[in-house]
């Protein structure tokens, strides 16, 4: 079974994530695979995403912590070349939360949204609020 020889580091990290969760962030391992985490990040207050709940899936590869956690398509330097084994799941999730507070339109996933954001930020913020309400509110 995949969980049988889980490195002590992962066990410790998991314990700490569960016992002292970072504010606005919850991460819990899947029962079948302790390397697989269901993550929820609350939209930061004073951001267009406030009130939204953002779900993520996080996977710790075999090489973790020498290799970074796998987290879908998020443009974040510490998930790529700036990864260091001294970083943790917690630090990665906090960085993502910070990215919600201060989006980086120069390194976007969606070119259109970034263009909109740069051309008319107020309008883009409204759209973000709208989409948060529509697609990320609860449940």
């Amino acid at each position: 079974m995949a969980n049988s020889n889980l490195p002590r580091r992962i066990i410790k990290e998991t314990q700490r994530l569960l016992s002292e969760p970072a504010p606005g962030i919850s991460a819990s391992p899947s029962e079948e695979n302790m390397r697989y985490f269901n993550v929820m990040i609350l939209g930061p207050s004073q951001s267009p995403y406030e009130g939204g709940v953002f779900k993520l899936e996080l996977f710790l590869p075999e090489e973790y912590p020498m290799a970074s956690p796998k987290l879908g398509r998020i443009c974040l330097d510490i998930l790529k070349d700036k990864w260091s084994p001294a970083l943790q799941i917690r630090t990665v999730l906090l960085s993502i939360q910070a990215l919600l507070s201060a989006p980086n339109p120069d390194d976007p996933l969606s070119e259109n949204v970034a263009k909109h954001w740069k051309a008319n930020e107020a309008e883009a913020v409204e759209t973000a609020k709208e989409w948060t309400r529509l697609y990320a509110s609860g449940v």
Binding site: R8, E13, P65, A67, S84, P85, A86
Partner: protein
């Protein structure tokens, strides 16, 4: 051969010897420690710095001694030689000898240029030594460890002068950027156990390892961290402490303590490679499998570099050596040779698609009645591409397709045929030059091969001919001549190899020489023709005639001496032809003065060793022989 001008040159060079001891020509070595400023060149100043190892074609100067050449001091050559250090004397002498040697053969051009080869071929041992020297120098001057000096140099692309400049301008900033701390930022003096920041296990203090910063990690996590970095590539040379908030550099000392032998070796190779690849003064020889590098001092003269592996290349574009042709022309030519479009041009020019099956058909010669290959077998007229069945008396006869003529008159085929005709012409033109370019290349390779057979073990590894004897050894026995007296054969072959290379590239030059520059073109083709004819005689003599002396038993020694005189003469004459050609092309044929050519001897034509003499020879060019040389 020497014109009056050339004689003056030689005298001027002699007179330079006097300057060594005159006060004003001695330039003090102002910054002994900082000879890294040899990275910076001024337009009119050349500094030649090389290493102890004597290498072919290089000036030998022991650092930090320098030769500095400045324009404007000596009238005729505009060259003054400054001596930085009295002990550089032998190198200066070598330099002057060289210059004098060149003075004999090179004709003067409008802007005299130094033809000094200012590069050094570096073996792996040389590179390590240079790297070690630079590191030691920085370490001594900045009073930091050698490992720190190495990190610093790597960060500054091995420029000693930049390291020095920045360090003395703002040491703290440099330390921060590069990650060299003098005091640790983390202390844990009273703890019995410390937790590794990666695996979160606790270890006794003595099992914990830290970089200069003190961030604690266990040895197995360090090992994993460093190994991954080394596997990822040369980025490992810039390795930092794993703590994301810390930027402290991890040096080779730590790496050597922690990782496997294999990884140590890899790291050390990356470090060596970095010294060549991140340094703008050095490049690897591009020949496959060659492990030499070349240190080049920019400023004057040709980019051609001869590596110790025998490969000659252009330092600027790293293509095969192509002097006197410019890098741009070579690039264009190489791309053209590669281009598939030439094939397309050929098909377009020489074939038409079968009107029925559409396969391209080439028509060599003969009648217009075409029959496509089976299974198509369609018979058609090459001119009108109509079915042959419809040809006959009523169309004006089989061999005069008036339907085509009519169509042509109506302009139906005009555009298409015109394009075909143009493509054909351009292709024929290209083929002309390509054939000659490629043939000279093949000849050159053959000559290299032949030379290797000629050479004795002293020169190269034992490449014996099939009779088990070196050919030179055979000649030594046969004509009781010492090997040193047979050097003329080697010289001849070296000349052939060099000339084949030059000649080859002149065909690329010729291809790109604008058609409308009629006079330049004529002059170019004349010089090229002269050079080529000379080379053919030399090659023939070295290849065929020499063979007679090697194989046949009954040749008197006197005949062999005559042969020696002939081959030596041909070598020297050919050398001169090619030097003229090279010089002319490097000047962009500027000496062909459009207004005065053919009517008077101008100063510029005079510079080619006597224009009138040349024109005289030009008349006999077709015969391809020089009476004075034919026996």
């Amino acid at each position: 051969m020497d014109s009056e001008d050339d004689m003056h040159d030689a005298n001027d060079m002699d007179s330079l010897d006097d300057d060594y001891y005159s006060e004003e020509s001695i330039v003090a070595s102002d910054e002994e420690h900082n000879s890294g400023d040899d990275y910076d060149f001024e337009d009119d100043t050349v500094e030649i710095t090389s290493k102890q190892q004597p290498s072919k074609g290089s000036l030998i100067v022991r650092p930090p001694m320098r030769i500095r050449l400045e324009t404007g001091k000596v009238k005729r050559d505009n060259i003054t030689v400054y001596v930085v250090d009295g002990s550089v004397f032998p190198s200066i002498v070598a330099f002057l000898d060289r210059k004098r040697e060149q003075g004999k053969h090179t004709t003067k051009s409008k802007s005299p240029e130094l033809r000094v080869q200012h590069y050094t071929v570096l073996s792996e041992a040389d590179i390590r030594q240079l790297q070690e020297d630079d590191t030691t120098r920085v370490s001594n001057v900045l009073s930091i460890s050698k490992v720190s000096a190495s990190i610093l140099l790597r960060h500054y692309n091995w420029s000693v002068s930049k390291v020095n400049d920045d360090w003395f301008a703002d040491e703290d900033r440099v330390r921060r950027t590069v990650g060299l701390l003098d005091i640790p930022v983390v202390h844990f003096p009273n703890l019995k156990e410390v937790m590794c920041g990666i695996c979160f296990e606790s270890y006794p203090c003595n099992k914990i390892i830290s970089a200069a910063c003190g961030h604690p990690f266990c040895s197995s996590c360090w090992l994993g961290y460093i190994s991954i970095s080394i596997t990822d590539g040369p980025g490992c040379l810039m390795l930092r402490c794993p703590d994301p908030s810390c930027g402290v550099a991890v040096g080779q000392d730590m790496i050597n303590v922690l990782v496997s032998e294999q990884d140590k070796e890899k790291y050390s190779r990356y470090l060596l490679r970095s010294y060549i690849e991140n340094n703008r003064k050095t490049k690897w020889c591009p020949a496959p499998g060659c492990e030499y590098a070349v240190n080049f001092v920019m400023g004057v003269g040709s980019y051609d570099v001869a590596c110790n592996c025998t490969y000659g290349f252009c330092w600027n574009c790293t293509e095969e050596a192509h002097r006197p042709v410019e890098c741009d022309t070579v690039q264009k030519w190489i791309q053209k040779n590669r281009a598939e479009s030439e094939n397309m041009n050929w098909i377009l020019a020489n074939s038409k698609p079968c009107p029925k099956c559409k396969r391209p058909i080439e028509k060599n010669q003969g009648c217009m009645h075409m029959t496509c290959t089976p299974p198509c077998k369609f018979e058609f007229c090459w001119l009108c591409l109509g079915s042959w069945q419809e040809h006959g008396e009523r169309t004006g006869g089989f061999y005069a397709c008036n339907r085509y003529e009519t169509a042509k008159q109506q302009g139906v085929y005009d555009e298409c045929e015109k394009r075909r005709e143009m493509a054909k012409n351009s292709l024929e033109r290209y083929t002309h030059y390509y054939e000659r370019w490629a043939t000279n290349q093949a000849s050159r390779l053959k000559a290299i091969n032949d030379l290797q057979q000629m050479k004795s073990e002293n020169f190269l590894s034992s490449l014996r001919n099939n009779k088990g004897h070196l050919q030179i050894e055979k000649l030594t026995d046969k004509y009781s001549m010492p090997e040193t007296q047979l050097k003329f054969i080697i010289d001849a072959w070296l000349q052939i190899i060099e000339c084949r290379r030059v000649l080859k590239w002149t065909y690329a030059y010729g291809y790109y020489l604008p058609e409308h520059e009629q006079i330049k073109r004529e002059y170019f083709e004349f010089s090229q023709g002269e050079a080529e004819a000379g080379l053919e005689r030399l090659h023939q003599c070295a290849e065929k005639e020499l063979q007679e002396y090697i194989t046949s038993a009954e040749q008197p020694t006197s005949a062999f001496h005559e042969f020696k005189t002939k081959l030596t003469g041909l070598t020297s004459v050919t050398k001169t032809f090619f030097e003229n050609l090279v010089q002319a092309l490097e000047n962009g044929l500027a000496d062909v003065d459009v207004d005065s050519v053919g009517c008077s001897r101008t100063a510029s034509t005079k510079s080619y060793g006597g224009g009138s003499k040349k024109k005289g020879r030009g008349k006999s060019r077709g015969s391809g022989s020089d009476p004075s040389l034919e026996e």
